[in-house]
Amino acid sequence: MAAGRRKAKTMQYFEDIHPGSAREIGNHTFSEDAIIAFARQFDPQPFHIDPAAAKRSAFGGIIASGWHTAATVMRMIVDSAIEVEASLGSPGFDDLAWLKPVRPGDTIRARMTCIDKTPSRSRPGIGSARFLIEAFNQNDELVMRYTSIGIMRFRNPA
């Protein structure tokens, strides 16, 4: 996929994360070919891979696998918000909702808002933060949201 130009990263180390702050993290246009290629590999349901069957489905046409949308937003997060020296991965996510279909030609942009952050009690120099991740289409309709959890290092461990 087109990664786009790398942006200055402001959510890097634990100290750089500010609850309540929001930022746009990128955008991506979904082609029908890419939707079908992802779904063939990971989610081969007829409404993701077969235009004729998709037309007859409740969706009325091909739509992207929700996992494709989520993986694409992950790429935006990596490119714009994760500092590789600081990131220690993620234990998971909560409350993911696929609210509207993503269709070929749709341009999805995503926003990341810090909910809160907590220093680790057992491991000095490490903390976690929760982020609300929201993805919108070109009509500003919310198509996906979830709460992600990130683990990261402190820039200056005490």
């Binding site: 989610d43 349901q45 790429r75 990596v78 220690l88």
Partner: protein, 149 residues
């Protein structure tokens, strides 16, 4: 074809195991999650994971494929409203063999749309050592059995 009515609370599904290769892990990460511990063996050795490991979204994608091939594909699937909770409990390493199991927690016909309903299921994926690598509680929407006529 099976329908919403064919699910029962407490129903257990088991899925065939699947082994993941280093090439697959790197290919997925290049496209969707290019962090060093998913891409670069040497860098990954220095990381907390101790070695190259799969993007959690890749593991989730492999789980989805297991679900579609063995369960969802046999039912009148209408997509998914979402995932209540997903945890990446342990890293997935190249050569790991992943096996999924699932249990139906709730079957709920839609109040507003009589042609469909939603099931809530709990899933657990283990590696070849029997360690849990992923857990998920998620929803699936399914068509109801058409009236006989």
């Amino acid at each position: 074809m099976k329908y919403l009515e064919d699910f029962t609370v407490g129903q257990v599904f088991t899925y065939p195991p699947r082994t993941v290769s280093e090439d697959e892990i790197i290919a997925f990460a290049r496209e969707y999650d290019p962090q060093p511990f998913h891409l670069d063996k040497e860098a990954a050795k220095q990381s907390l994971f101790g070695g190259l490991c799969a993007s959690g979204w890749h593991t989730a994608g492999m789980m989805m494929r297991m679900l579609v091939d063995n369960m969802i594909g046999k039912y009148a699937s209408m997509g998914s409203p979402g995932v209540d909770q997903l945890r990446w409990v342990k890293p997935v390493f190249p050569g790991d063999t992943l096996q999924l199991s699932g249990e139906v927690l709730e079957v709920r016909p839609s109040q507003s749309k009589p042609d469909r309903g939603v099931i809530t299921s709990r899933y657990e994926m283990k590696n070849q050592k029997g360690e849990t690598v992923l857990t998920m509680q998620a929803k699936g929407m399914y068509g109801r059995r058409p009236a006989q006529g």
